[in-house]
Protein backbone atom coordinates (compact mmCIF):
# COMPACT_ATOMS: atom_id res chain seq x y z
CA UNK A 1 0.00 0.00 0.00
CA UNK A 2 2.80 2.35 0.89
CA UNK A 3 4.45 1.82 -2.50
CA UNK A 4 1.14 2.71 -4.17
CA UNK A 5 0.91 6.06 -2.39
CA UNK A 6 4.56 6.63 -3.20
CA UNK A 7 4.02 5.95 -6.90
CA UNK A 8 0.91 8.13 -6.94
CA UNK A 9 2.74 11.00 -5.24
CA UNK A 10 5.62 10.68 -7.68
CA UNK A 11 3.26 10.65 -10.67
CA UNK A 12 1.44 13.75 -9.46
CA UNK A 13 4.73 15.52 -8.76
CA UNK A 14 5.94 14.60 -12.25
CA UNK A 15 2.81 16.05 -13.85
CA UNK A 16 3.04 19.23 -11.80
CA UNK A 17 6.72 19.72 -12.55
CA UNK A 18 6.14 18.97 -16.24
CA UNK A 19 3.66 21.84 -16.59
CA UNK A 20 6.15 24.72 -16.99
CA UNK A 21 8.32 22.59 -19.28
CA UNK A 22 5.38 21.67 -21.52
CA UNK A 23 4.33 25.30 -22.03
CA UNK A 24 7.89 26.42 -22.75
CA UNK A 25 8.50 23.52 -25.05
CA UNK A 26 5.35 24.32 -27.05
CA UNK A 27 6.64 27.90 -27.22
CA UNK A 28 9.91 26.57 -28.58
CA UNK A 29 7.97 24.41 -31.06
CA UNK A 30 6.15 27.43 -32.51
CA UNK A 31 9.32 29.42 -33.00
CA UNK A 32 11.60 26.64 -34.23
CA UNK A 33 9.01 25.10 -36.56
CA UNK A 34 8.71 28.50 -38.21
CA UNK A 35 12.47 28.52 -38.72
CA UNK A 36 13.64 30.69 -35.84
CA UNK A 37 16.03 29.22 -33.25
CA UNK A 38 14.89 30.13 -29.76
CA UNK A 39 17.31 29.99 -26.85
CA UNK A 40 15.47 32.94 -25.27
CA UNK A 41 12.84 30.62 -23.75
CA UNK A 42 14.56 30.92 -20.38
CA UNK A 43 14.15 34.70 -20.43
CA UNK A 44 10.56 34.44 -21.70
CA UNK A 45 9.77 32.11 -18.81
CA UNK A 46 11.38 34.41 -16.24
CA UNK A 47 9.40 37.39 -17.53
CA UNK A 48 6.20 35.35 -17.41
CA UNK A 49 6.89 34.15 -13.88
CA UNK A 50 7.65 37.70 -12.79
CA UNK A 51 4.71 39.44 -14.46
CA UNK A 52 2.39 36.68 -13.27
CA UNK A 53 3.56 36.99 -9.68
CA UNK A 54 3.24 40.79 -9.61
CA UNK A 55 -0.19 40.98 -11.24
CA UNK A 56 -1.44 37.93 -9.37
CA UNK A 57 -0.50 39.52 -6.10
CA UNK A 58 -1.74 43.00 -7.06
CA UNK A 59 -5.19 41.84 -8.18
CA UNK A 60 -5.26 38.94 -5.70
CA UNK A 61 -6.14 36.65 -8.59
CA UNK A 62 -4.17 33.92 -10.28
CA UNK A 63 -6.11 34.45 -13.52
CA UNK A 64 -5.13 38.13 -13.65
CA UNK A 65 -1.56 37.03 -13.08
CA UNK A 66 -1.92 34.55 -15.92
CA UNK A 67 -3.29 37.24 -18.21
CA UNK A 68 -0.49 39.67 -17.50
CA UNK A 69 2.09 36.92 -17.94
CA UNK A 70 0.68 36.24 -21.42
CA UNK A 71 0.78 39.95 -22.21
CA UNK A 72 4.38 40.23 -21.05
CA UNK A 73 5.23 37.12 -23.08
CA UNK A 74 3.69 38.61 -26.22
CA UNK A 75 5.71 41.80 -25.75
CA UNK A 76 9.06 40.08 -25.22
CA UNK A 77 8.30 37.59 -28.00
CA UNK A 78 7.63 40.48 -30.36
CA UNK A 79 10.85 42.15 -29.23
CA UNK A 80 12.79 38.98 -30.03
CA UNK A 81 11.02 38.77 -33.39
CA UNK A 82 11.99 42.38 -34.16
CA UNK A 83 15.67 41.62 -33.62
CA UNK A 84 15.93 38.28 -35.39
CA UNK A 85 13.44 38.82 -38.22
CA UNK A 86 13.69 42.52 -39.05
CA UNK A 87 17.20 43.39 -37.89
CA UNK A 88 18.57 39.97 -38.91
CA UNK A 89 20.58 39.61 -35.71
CA UNK A 90 22.21 36.25 -34.98
CA UNK A 91 19.50 34.15 -33.36
CA UNK A 92 21.53 32.41 -30.69
CA UNK A 93 23.41 35.52 -29.59
CA UNK A 94 20.20 37.56 -29.51
CA UNK A 95 18.50 34.84 -27.51
CA UNK A 96 21.29 34.83 -24.94
CA UNK A 97 21.19 38.65 -24.82
CA UNK A 98 17.44 38.56 -24.16
CA UNK A 99 18.06 36.16 -21.27
CA UNK A 100 20.77 38.43 -19.89
CA UNK A 101 18.54 41.49 -20.28
CA UNK A 102 15.72 39.83 -18.35
CA UNK A 103 18.12 38.81 -15.58
CA UNK A 104 19.07 42.46 -15.16
CA UNK A 105 15.64 43.92 -15.85
CA UNK A 106 13.70 42.00 -13.19
CA UNK A 107 15.83 43.16 -10.22
CA UNK A 108 15.73 46.68 -11.76
CA UNK A 109 11.92 46.63 -11.59
CA UNK A 110 11.65 44.94 -8.18
CA UNK A 111 13.94 47.60 -6.77
CA UNK A 112 11.59 50.32 -8.05
CA UNK A 113 8.40 48.50 -7.00
CA UNK A 114 9.39 46.86 -3.71
CA UNK A 115 12.79 48.46 -2.98
CA UNK A 116 14.41 45.02 -2.87
CA UNK A 117 16.03 42.90 -5.55
CA UNK A 118 14.79 39.56 -4.27
CA UNK A 119 11.42 37.87 -4.41
CA UNK A 120 7.99 39.36 -4.96
CA UNK A 121 5.45 39.29 -2.09
CA UNK A 122 3.73 35.90 -1.70
CA UNK A 123 0.22 35.14 -2.93
CA UNK A 124 -2.45 33.88 -0.57
CA UNK A 125 -3.19 30.18 -0.92
CA UNK A 126 -6.67 30.81 -2.32
CA UNK A 127 -5.23 33.13 -5.01
CA UNK A 128 -3.02 30.38 -6.39
CA UNK A 129 -3.79 27.80 -9.03
CA UNK A 130 -4.52 24.30 -7.79
CA UNK A 131 -4.58 22.28 -11.01
CA UNK A 132 -5.66 24.60 -13.86
CA UNK A 133 -2.26 25.13 -15.55
CA UNK A 134 -1.73 21.37 -15.68
CA UNK A 135 -5.00 20.97 -17.56
CA UNK A 136 -4.25 23.90 -19.86
CA UNK A 137 -0.82 22.47 -20.69
CA UNK A 138 -2.42 19.20 -21.79
CA UNK A 139 -5.02 21.04 -23.87
CA UNK A 140 -2.34 23.19 -25.48
CA UNK A 141 -0.42 20.13 -26.66
CA UNK A 142 -3.60 18.62 -28.11
CA UNK A 143 -4.60 21.91 -29.75
CA UNK A 144 -1.18 22.49 -31.30
CA UNK A 145 -0.89 18.95 -32.66
CA UNK A 146 -4.29 19.26 -34.33
CA UNK A 147 -3.79 22.81 -35.54
CA UNK A 148 -0.23 22.50 -36.83
CA UNK A 149 -0.72 19.46 -39.04
CA UNK A 150 -4.41 19.76 -39.98
CA UNK A 151 -5.07 23.42 -40.76
CA UNK A 152 -3.93 25.84 -43.41
CA UNK A 153 -2.33 28.31 -40.99
CA UNK A 154 -0.59 25.45 -39.18
CA UNK A 155 0.93 24.34 -42.48
CA UNK A 156 2.10 27.91 -43.09
CA UNK A 157 4.20 27.66 -39.96
CA UNK A 158 5.60 24.27 -41.03
CA UNK A 159 6.45 25.61 -44.49
CA UNK A 160 8.09 28.73 -43.03
CA UNK A 161 10.47 26.36 -41.29
CA UNK A 162 10.91 23.77 -44.04
CA UNK A 163 10.61 25.59 -47.31
CA UNK A 164 10.09 29.33 -47.00
CA UNK A 165 10.52 29.86 -50.74
CA UNK A 166 7.52 27.66 -51.47
CA UNK A 167 5.46 29.60 -48.96
CA UNK A 168 6.43 32.88 -50.58
CA UNK A 169 5.59 31.42 -53.97
CA UNK A 170 2.09 30.58 -52.76
CA UNK A 171 1.58 34.20 -51.79
CA UNK A 172 1.98 33.98 -48.01
CA UNK A 173 4.42 36.28 -46.26
CA UNK A 174 7.09 34.23 -44.46
CA UNK A 175 7.88 37.33 -42.45
CA UNK A 176 4.35 37.62 -41.07
CA UNK A 177 4.11 33.90 -40.30
CA UNK A 178 7.39 34.01 -38.38
CA UNK A 179 6.39 37.18 -36.54
CA UNK A 180 3.19 35.54 -35.34
CA UNK A 181 4.90 32.26 -34.43
CA UNK A 182 7.73 33.90 -32.47
CA UNK A 183 5.37 36.29 -30.66
CA UNK A 184 3.12 33.37 -29.68
CA UNK A 185 6.23 31.48 -28.62
CA UNK A 186 6.81 34.27 -26.09
CA UNK A 187 3.25 33.94 -24.79
CA UNK A 188 3.45 30.16 -24.39
CA UNK A 189 6.82 30.22 -22.65
CA UNK A 190 5.58 33.02 -20.38
CA UNK A 191 2.64 30.78 -19.38
CA UNK A 192 5.24 28.20 -18.44
CA UNK A 193 6.93 30.79 -16.25
CA UNK A 194 3.61 31.86 -14.73
CA UNK A 195 2.81 28.26 -13.87
CA UNK A 196 6.03 28.30 -11.83
CA UNK A 197 5.15 31.40 -9.81
CA UNK A 198 1.36 30.92 -9.59
CA UNK A 199 1.08 27.12 -9.47
CA UNK A 200 4.25 25.38 -8.27
CA UNK A 201 5.27 28.25 -5.96
CA UNK A 202 3.43 31.30 -4.67
CA UNK A 203 5.76 34.13 -5.66
CA UNK A 204 8.60 35.03 -7.96
CA UNK A 205 12.07 34.22 -6.66
CA UNK A 206 15.29 35.13 -8.49
CA UNK A 207 16.26 32.73 -11.28
CA UNK A 208 13.38 30.44 -10.39
CA UNK A 209 13.43 28.80 -13.83
CA UNK A 210 16.78 27.13 -13.09
CA UNK A 211 17.50 26.27 -16.71
CA UNK A 212 13.98 25.00 -17.50
CA UNK A 213 13.89 27.11 -20.65
CA UNK A 214 16.87 25.20 -21.98
CA UNK A 215 15.45 21.88 -20.80
CA UNK A 216 12.26 22.68 -22.68
CA UNK A 217 14.35 23.26 -25.80
CA UNK A 218 16.18 20.00 -25.17
CA UNK A 219 12.81 18.25 -24.81
CA UNK A 220 11.77 19.74 -28.14
CA UNK A 221 14.91 18.44 -29.87
CA UNK A 222 14.64 15.09 -28.08
CA UNK A 223 11.01 14.97 -29.22
CA UNK A 224 12.07 15.54 -32.82
CA UNK A 225 10.26 18.90 -33.02
CA UNK A 226 6.87 17.16 -32.73
CA UNK A 227 4.27 18.18 -30.10
CA UNK A 228 3.42 14.82 -28.55
CA UNK A 229 6.95 13.36 -28.40
CA UNK A 230 8.16 16.71 -26.99
CA UNK A 231 5.43 16.43 -24.37
CA UNK A 232 6.70 12.95 -23.50
CA UNK A 233 10.25 14.27 -23.21
CA UNK A 234 9.02 16.97 -20.83
CA UNK A 235 7.47 14.24 -18.69
CA UNK A 236 10.82 12.42 -18.62
CA UNK A 237 12.71 15.52 -17.46
CA UNK A 238 10.00 16.34 -14.93
CA UNK A 239 10.22 12.76 -13.65
CA UNK A 240 13.97 13.22 -13.09
CA UNK A 241 13.17 16.43 -11.24
CA UNK A 242 10.49 14.76 -9.10
CA UNK A 243 12.83 11.88 -8.26
CA UNK A 244 15.49 14.44 -7.40
CA UNK A 245 13.22 16.14 -4.86
CA UNK A 246 12.16 12.76 -3.40
CA UNK A 247 15.74 11.54 -3.11
CA UNK A 248 16.97 14.48 -1.05
CA UNK A 249 18.03 13.24 2.35
CA UNK A 250 17.33 9.60 1.44
CA UNK A 251 19.92 7.06 2.59
CA UNK A 252 21.20 4.40 0.25
CA UNK A 253 23.03 1.55 2.01
CA UNK A 254 23.37 3.64 5.16
CA UNK A 255 25.07 6.52 3.35
CA UNK A 256 23.24 9.72 2.58
CA UNK A 257 23.59 10.68 -1.08
CA UNK A 258 25.02 14.23 -1.24
CA UNK A 259 22.21 16.63 -2.02
CA UNK A 260 24.23 18.23 -4.83
CA UNK A 261 24.53 14.89 -6.64
CA UNK A 262 20.79 14.50 -6.45
CA UNK A 263 20.12 18.05 -7.60
CA UNK A 264 22.12 17.69 -10.82
CA UNK A 265 20.13 14.62 -11.83
CA UNK A 266 17.68 16.44 -14.19
CA UNK A 267 20.58 18.17 -15.94
CA UNK A 268 22.42 14.87 -16.42
CA UNK A 269 19.26 13.25 -17.77
CA UNK A 270 18.94 16.15 -20.22
CA UNK A 271 22.52 15.68 -21.45
CA UNK A 272 22.05 11.94 -21.81
CA UNK A 273 18.77 12.43 -23.66
CA UNK A 274 20.39 14.83 -26.12
CA UNK A 275 23.45 12.64 -26.54
CA UNK A 276 22.02 9.15 -26.74
CA UNK A 277 18.81 9.06 -28.66
CA UNK A 278 18.82 12.08 -30.88
CA UNK A 279 20.16 9.94 -33.75
CA UNK A 280 17.95 10.68 -36.71
CA UNK A 281 16.08 13.64 -35.26
CA UNK A 282 16.02 16.23 -38.02
CA UNK A 283 15.65 19.94 -37.44
CA UNK A 284 13.33 22.01 -39.62
CA UNK A 285 15.31 22.62 -42.82
CA UNK A 286 15.26 26.40 -42.72
CA UNK A 287 15.94 26.55 -38.96
CA UNK A 288 18.42 29.30 -38.21
CA UNK A 289 18.68 30.46 -41.83
CA UNK A 290 17.94 34.10 -42.41
Amino acid sequence: METMTWILALTLATLRLATPLVFASMGGLMSERSGVVNVALEGFMLIGAFAGAIAGQYFASAWMGWGFAILAGLVIGALYALFVIELKADQIITGMAVNLFVMGFIPFVTKILYSSTGSTPALLVEDRFTFEPLLMAGLLVAAISLWMFRTRSGLWVLFAGENPEALTASGVSVRKVRWSAVTLSGAFAAMGGASLSLFLASSYSPMMTGGRGFMALAALIFGKWKPVPAFAACLLFAFADAVQIRLQGVQIGGVEVPVQFVQILPYIVTVIALAGFIGKSRAPKALGHQ
Binding site: V39, A89, L100, K111
Partner: protein, 342 residues
Amino acid sequence: MKRVFGFLLGLTLALLLTLFAGENPWNVFMILVRSAFGSIYDLGLTLSYTTPLIFCGLSVAIGFHAGLFNIGAEGQLTMAVVTTAAIGVLFPQIPFPLAPVIALLAGLVAAGLWGWIAGWLRAVRGSHEVIITIMMNFIAAGLASWFTLKIIPNPESQNPETAMVAPQYMFKDYDLIARLFPDTPANASLGFAIVLAVLMWIFLWKTTWGFELRAVGSNPEAAHRAGISEKKVRILAMTLAGVMAGFVALSEVLGSAGQYRIGFSPDYGFIGIAVALLASNNPLGIIVAAFLMGALHKGASDLDLETTTITRDFSRIIQALVILGVVAQGYWEWIKIKRRKG
Protein backbone atom coordinates in the same frame (compact mmCIF):
# COMPACT_ATOMS: atom_id res chain seq x y z
CA MET B 1 33.46 51.36 -36.34
CA LYS B 2 29.94 49.99 -36.47
CA ARG B 3 30.74 47.90 -33.42
CA VAL B 4 31.80 50.99 -31.46
CA PHE B 5 28.55 52.65 -32.48
CA GLY B 6 26.62 49.55 -31.43
CA PHE B 7 28.36 49.64 -28.07
CA LEU B 8 27.54 53.32 -27.56
CA LEU B 9 23.94 52.82 -28.71
CA GLY B 10 23.47 49.98 -26.20
CA LEU B 11 25.05 51.97 -23.40
CA THR B 12 22.93 55.05 -24.18
CA LEU B 13 19.69 53.05 -24.27
CA ALA B 14 20.58 51.43 -20.95
CA LEU B 15 21.33 54.79 -19.37
CA LEU B 16 18.03 56.20 -20.67
CA LEU B 17 16.28 53.33 -18.88
CA THR B 18 17.46 54.81 -15.59
CA LEU B 19 15.00 57.68 -16.20
CA PHE B 20 12.25 55.20 -15.28
CA ALA B 21 13.95 54.71 -11.93
CA GLY B 22 13.97 58.45 -11.37
CA GLU B 23 17.70 58.86 -11.90
CA ASN B 24 19.63 61.27 -14.06
CA PRO B 25 21.32 59.20 -16.83
CA TRP B 26 24.31 61.54 -16.96
CA ASN B 27 24.78 61.12 -13.21
CA VAL B 28 24.63 57.37 -13.55
CA PHE B 29 27.20 57.50 -16.33
CA MET B 30 29.53 59.60 -14.20
CA ILE B 31 29.17 57.15 -11.30
CA LEU B 32 30.08 54.31 -13.68
CA VAL B 33 33.19 56.14 -14.88
CA ARG B 34 34.29 57.31 -11.45
CA SER B 35 33.74 53.95 -9.86
CA ALA B 36 35.69 52.16 -12.60
CA PHE B 37 38.71 54.49 -12.91
CA GLY B 38 38.36 56.98 -10.03
CA SER B 39 41.35 55.82 -8.01
CA ILE B 40 44.24 53.37 -8.12
CA TYR B 41 42.12 51.10 -5.95
CA ASP B 42 39.13 51.29 -8.33
CA LEU B 43 41.36 50.71 -11.35
CA GLY B 44 42.90 47.70 -9.61
CA LEU B 45 39.45 46.18 -9.14
CA THR B 46 38.53 46.93 -12.74
CA LEU B 47 41.70 45.15 -13.89
CA SER B 48 40.96 42.22 -11.59
CA TYR B 49 37.65 41.78 -13.45
CA THR B 50 39.36 42.32 -16.79
CA THR B 51 41.69 39.31 -16.39
CA PRO B 52 39.07 36.52 -16.11
CA LEU B 53 37.07 38.27 -18.83
CA ILE B 54 40.04 38.03 -21.21
CA PHE B 55 40.26 34.29 -20.52
CA CYS B 56 36.52 33.82 -20.98
CA GLY B 57 36.44 36.04 -24.06
CA LEU B 58 39.18 33.89 -25.64
CA SER B 59 37.24 30.77 -24.66
CA VAL B 60 34.05 31.92 -26.36
CA ALA B 61 35.97 33.29 -29.35
CA ILE B 62 37.79 30.06 -30.14
CA GLY B 63 34.44 28.30 -30.17
CA PHE B 64 32.99 30.91 -32.51
CA HIS B 65 35.96 30.55 -34.88
CA ALA B 66 35.11 26.86 -35.24
CA GLY B 67 31.42 27.68 -35.70
CA LEU B 68 30.45 26.60 -32.18
CA PHE B 69 28.76 28.49 -29.38
CA ASN B 70 30.50 27.92 -26.09
CA ILE B 71 28.00 29.00 -23.46
CA GLY B 72 29.88 26.71 -21.09
CA ALA B 73 32.83 28.89 -20.06
CA GLU B 74 31.21 29.35 -16.66
CA GLY B 75 31.14 25.62 -15.95
CA GLN B 76 34.61 25.12 -17.40
CA LEU B 77 36.14 27.82 -15.23
CA THR B 78 34.31 26.48 -12.18
CA MET B 79 35.81 23.02 -12.73
CA ALA B 80 39.29 24.54 -13.11
CA VAL B 81 39.07 26.79 -10.08
CA VAL B 82 37.78 24.08 -7.77
CA THR B 83 40.34 21.55 -9.02
CA THR B 84 43.23 23.98 -8.61
CA ALA B 85 42.09 24.86 -5.10
CA ALA B 86 41.72 21.16 -4.27
CA ILE B 87 45.33 20.40 -5.29
CA GLY B 88 46.53 23.33 -3.20
CA VAL B 89 44.61 22.16 -0.16
CA LEU B 90 45.20 18.42 -0.42
CA PHE B 91 48.94 18.47 -1.27
CA PRO B 92 50.56 21.05 1.01
CA GLN B 93 53.99 19.39 0.76
CA ILE B 94 54.76 20.10 -2.91
CA PRO B 95 57.59 22.72 -3.10
CA PHE B 96 57.19 26.18 -4.64
CA PRO B 97 57.94 26.36 -8.32
CA LEU B 98 56.32 22.99 -8.89
CA ALA B 99 53.22 23.57 -6.75
CA PRO B 100 51.42 26.31 -8.72
CA VAL B 101 52.39 24.68 -12.03
CA ILE B 102 50.90 21.31 -11.06
CA ALA B 103 47.79 22.92 -9.57
CA LEU B 104 47.17 25.04 -12.66
CA LEU B 105 47.78 22.10 -15.01
CA ALA B 106 45.28 20.01 -13.06
CA GLY B 107 42.76 22.84 -13.30
CA LEU B 108 43.32 23.21 -17.05
CA VAL B 109 42.87 19.45 -17.54
CA ALA B 110 39.57 19.55 -15.62
CA ALA B 111 38.32 22.54 -17.64
CA GLY B 112 39.59 21.04 -20.89
CA LEU B 113 37.77 17.81 -20.11
CA TRP B 114 34.58 19.79 -19.47
CA GLY B 115 34.97 21.41 -22.90
CA TRP B 116 35.93 18.12 -24.51
CA ILE B 117 32.72 16.43 -23.36
CA ALA B 118 30.64 19.14 -25.04
CA GLY B 119 32.82 19.04 -28.16
CA TRP B 120 32.67 15.26 -28.39
CA LEU B 121 28.90 15.18 -27.94
CA ARG B 122 28.53 17.85 -30.63
CA ALA B 123 30.92 16.28 -33.11
CA VAL B 124 30.11 12.59 -32.65
CA ARG B 125 26.49 12.56 -31.44
CA GLY B 126 25.32 15.79 -33.06
CA SER B 127 24.02 17.19 -29.77
CA HIS B 128 23.10 20.88 -29.59
CA GLU B 129 26.22 22.42 -28.02
CA VAL B 130 24.36 25.41 -26.59
CA ILE B 131 22.05 23.28 -24.46
CA ILE B 132 24.77 20.77 -23.60
CA THR B 133 27.17 23.45 -22.35
CA ILE B 134 24.42 25.13 -20.32
CA MET B 135 23.50 21.82 -18.69
CA MET B 136 27.21 21.20 -18.05
CA ASN B 137 27.32 24.57 -16.25
CA PHE B 138 24.64 23.40 -13.82
CA ILE B 139 26.38 20.05 -13.34
CA ALA B 140 29.75 21.77 -12.69
CA ALA B 141 28.15 24.10 -10.15
CA GLY B 142 26.62 21.14 -8.31
CA LEU B 143 29.84 19.11 -8.28
CA ALA B 144 31.93 22.09 -7.18
CA SER B 145 29.51 22.96 -4.41
CA TRP B 146 29.55 19.38 -3.11
CA PHE B 147 33.35 19.24 -3.20
CA THR B 148 33.67 22.61 -1.49
CA LEU B 149 31.18 22.02 1.30
CA LYS B 150 31.77 18.31 1.97
CA ILE B 151 35.39 17.54 1.12
CA ILE B 152 37.55 20.64 1.64
CA PRO B 153 35.46 23.29 3.43
CA ASN B 154 37.12 26.25 5.10
CA PRO B 155 37.09 25.35 8.83
CA GLU B 156 37.69 28.95 9.87
CA SER B 157 34.77 30.50 8.05
CA GLN B 158 31.00 30.25 7.71
CA ASN B 159 31.20 31.30 4.06
CA PRO B 160 30.69 28.68 1.36
CA GLU B 161 34.34 28.37 0.33
CA THR B 162 37.20 25.90 0.28
CA ALA B 163 40.10 25.95 2.72
CA MET B 164 43.06 28.13 1.73
CA VAL B 165 45.73 26.59 -0.50
CA ALA B 166 49.22 26.18 1.02
CA PRO B 167 51.18 29.46 0.79
CA GLN B 168 53.75 28.21 -1.73
CA TYR B 169 50.99 27.77 -4.33
CA MET B 170 50.60 31.50 -4.74
CA PHE B 171 53.00 33.79 -6.59
CA LYS B 172 52.28 36.90 -4.49
CA ASP B 173 55.96 37.55 -3.60
CA TYR B 174 56.89 37.78 -7.27
CA ASP B 175 53.90 39.79 -8.37
CA LEU B 176 54.76 43.25 -9.75
CA ILE B 177 51.24 44.09 -10.88
CA ALA B 178 49.82 43.31 -7.44
CA ARG B 179 52.31 45.79 -5.95
CA LEU B 180 51.05 48.57 -8.23
CA PHE B 181 47.50 48.09 -6.95
CA PRO B 182 47.75 47.42 -3.23
CA ASP B 183 44.74 45.87 -1.43
CA THR B 184 43.06 44.82 -4.69
CA PRO B 185 42.91 41.34 -6.24
CA ALA B 186 44.68 42.62 -9.39
CA ASN B 187 47.69 40.38 -10.06
CA ALA B 188 50.31 39.25 -12.53
CA SER B 189 47.89 36.96 -14.34
CA LEU B 190 46.72 40.08 -16.19
CA GLY B 191 50.08 40.12 -17.96
CA PHE B 192 49.73 36.42 -18.65
CA ALA B 193 46.23 36.93 -20.07
CA ILE B 194 47.57 39.49 -22.53
CA VAL B 195 50.36 37.13 -23.59
CA LEU B 196 47.81 34.32 -23.99
CA ALA B 197 45.67 36.55 -26.22
CA VAL B 198 48.68 37.25 -28.45
CA LEU B 199 49.52 33.53 -28.57
CA MET B 200 45.97 32.77 -29.58
CA TRP B 201 46.16 35.34 -32.36
CA ILE B 202 49.33 33.64 -33.63
CA PHE B 203 47.68 30.22 -33.32
CA LEU B 204 44.59 31.26 -35.29
CA TRP B 205 46.27 33.17 -38.09
CA LYS B 206 49.78 31.73 -38.36
CA THR B 207 49.46 27.98 -37.80
CA THR B 208 47.89 25.19 -39.85
CA TRP B 209 45.72 24.07 -36.94
CA GLY B 210 44.42 27.59 -36.55
CA PHE B 211 43.66 27.77 -40.25
CA GLU B 212 41.80 24.45 -40.17
CA LEU B 213 39.81 25.63 -37.19
CA ARG B 214 38.74 28.82 -38.94
CA ALA B 215 38.04 26.92 -42.16
CA VAL B 216 35.58 24.61 -40.39
CA GLY B 217 33.97 27.63 -38.76
CA SER B 218 33.50 29.68 -41.91
CA ASN B 219 32.58 26.92 -44.37
CA PRO B 220 32.32 23.38 -43.02
CA GLU B 221 31.51 21.88 -46.43
CA ALA B 222 34.50 23.39 -48.17
CA ALA B 223 36.69 22.39 -45.23
CA HIS B 224 35.39 18.84 -45.50
CA ARG B 225 36.20 18.70 -49.20
CA ALA B 226 39.66 20.03 -48.47
CA GLY B 227 40.19 16.96 -46.31
CA ILE B 228 39.88 18.63 -42.92
CA SER B 229 38.20 16.47 -40.28
CA GLU B 230 35.37 18.58 -38.87
CA LYS B 231 34.94 16.18 -35.99
CA LYS B 232 38.55 16.50 -34.84
CA VAL B 233 38.52 20.27 -35.25
CA ARG B 234 35.27 20.69 -33.31
CA ILE B 235 36.47 18.51 -30.45
CA LEU B 236 39.81 20.35 -30.39
CA ALA B 237 38.11 23.76 -30.44
CA MET B 238 35.82 22.99 -27.52
CA THR B 239 38.67 21.44 -25.53
CA LEU B 240 40.80 24.53 -26.12
CA ALA B 241 37.82 26.70 -25.18
CA GLY B 242 37.63 24.83 -21.90
CA VAL B 243 41.36 25.29 -21.31
CA MET B 244 41.11 29.06 -21.98
CA ALA B 245 38.27 29.43 -19.48
CA GLY B 246 40.26 27.24 -17.09
CA PHE B 247 42.99 29.87 -16.86
CA VAL B 248 40.64 31.78 -14.56
CA ALA B 249 42.08 29.46 -11.89
CA LEU B 250 45.37 31.30 -12.36
CA SER B 251 43.98 34.74 -11.58
CA GLU B 252 41.50 33.61 -8.95
CA VAL B 253 43.19 30.86 -6.93
CA LEU B 254 46.93 31.25 -7.53
CA GLY B 255 46.91 35.02 -8.03
CA SER B 256 44.47 36.48 -5.54
CA ALA B 257 41.95 34.55 -3.44
CA GLY B 258 43.91 31.36 -2.70
CA GLN B 259 40.67 29.39 -2.54
CA TYR B 260 37.44 28.65 -4.40
CA ARG B 261 34.56 30.71 -3.11
CA ILE B 262 31.12 29.60 -4.31
CA GLY B 263 29.63 32.47 -6.29
CA PHE B 264 32.96 34.27 -6.81
CA SER B 265 32.20 34.65 -10.49
CA PRO B 266 29.63 37.26 -11.51
CA ASP B 267 28.92 35.05 -14.56
CA TYR B 268 32.32 35.64 -16.16
CA GLY B 269 31.48 32.93 -18.68
CA PHE B 270 28.35 34.77 -19.75
CA ILE B 271 29.99 38.20 -19.95
CA GLY B 272 32.72 36.51 -22.00
CA ILE B 273 30.13 36.12 -24.78
CA ALA B 274 29.69 39.89 -24.86
CA VAL B 275 33.47 40.36 -24.80
CA ALA B 276 34.06 38.00 -27.74
CA LEU B 277 31.24 39.56 -29.70
CA LEU B 278 32.38 43.12 -29.11
CA ALA B 279 35.86 42.16 -30.34
CA SER B 280 34.57 40.25 -33.42
CA ASN B 281 36.39 37.26 -31.90
CA ASN B 282 39.77 38.89 -32.54
CA PRO B 283 42.05 37.83 -29.64
CA LEU B 284 43.78 41.22 -29.52
CA GLY B 285 40.47 43.08 -29.55
CA ILE B 286 39.37 40.86 -26.69
CA ILE B 287 41.93 42.54 -24.42
CA VAL B 288 40.26 45.90 -25.03
CA ALA B 289 36.70 44.54 -24.91
CA ALA B 290 37.41 42.71 -21.63
CA PHE B 291 38.73 45.96 -20.17
CA LEU B 292 35.55 47.79 -21.23
CA MET B 293 33.29 45.09 -19.81
CA GLY B 294 35.40 44.89 -16.66
CA ALA B 295 35.04 48.64 -16.23
CA LEU B 296 31.27 48.43 -16.72
CA HIS B 297 31.06 45.68 -14.16
CA LYS B 298 33.17 47.47 -11.57
CA GLY B 299 31.37 50.75 -12.32
CA ALA B 300 27.98 49.17 -11.71
CA SER B 301 29.09 47.82 -8.32
CA ASP B 302 29.00 51.33 -6.85
CA LEU B 303 25.46 51.99 -8.12
CA ASP B 304 24.20 50.16 -5.03
CA LEU B 305 25.76 52.80 -2.79
CA GLU B 306 25.48 55.95 -4.84
CA THR B 307 21.93 55.74 -6.17
CA THR B 308 18.71 54.88 -4.37
CA THR B 309 16.95 52.84 -7.05
CA ILE B 310 19.64 51.22 -9.19
CA THR B 311 21.64 48.17 -8.21
CA ARG B 312 24.65 46.34 -9.58
CA ASP B 313 22.31 44.08 -11.58
CA PHE B 314 22.07 47.07 -13.89
CA SER B 315 25.36 45.98 -15.47
CA ARG B 316 23.48 43.02 -16.97
CA ILE B 317 21.04 45.36 -18.68
CA ILE B 318 23.95 47.35 -20.10
CA GLN B 319 25.73 44.19 -21.26
CA ALA B 320 22.57 42.83 -22.88
CA LEU B 321 21.81 46.07 -24.71
CA VAL B 322 25.43 46.39 -25.82
CA ILE B 323 25.27 42.86 -27.26
CA LEU B 324 22.00 43.68 -29.02
CA GLY B 325 23.41 46.97 -30.30
CA VAL B 326 26.40 45.18 -31.80
CA VAL B 327 24.68 42.07 -33.11
CA ALA B 328 21.70 43.81 -34.72
CA GLN B 329 23.76 45.65 -37.29
CA GLY B 330 20.87 44.98 -39.65
CA TYR B 331 19.33 48.24 -38.51
CA TRP B 332 21.53 50.07 -40.99
CA GLU B 333 19.84 48.24 -43.86
CA TRP B 334 16.48 48.50 -42.15
CA ILE B 335 16.69 52.27 -41.78
CA LYS B 336 17.73 52.58 -45.43
CA ILE B 337 14.78 50.52 -46.63
CA LYS B 338 12.32 52.40 -44.43
CA ARG B 339 13.66 55.70 -45.72
CA ARG B 340 13.32 54.60 -49.32
CA LYS B 341 9.72 53.54 -48.71
CA GLY B 342 8.91 56.67 -46.72
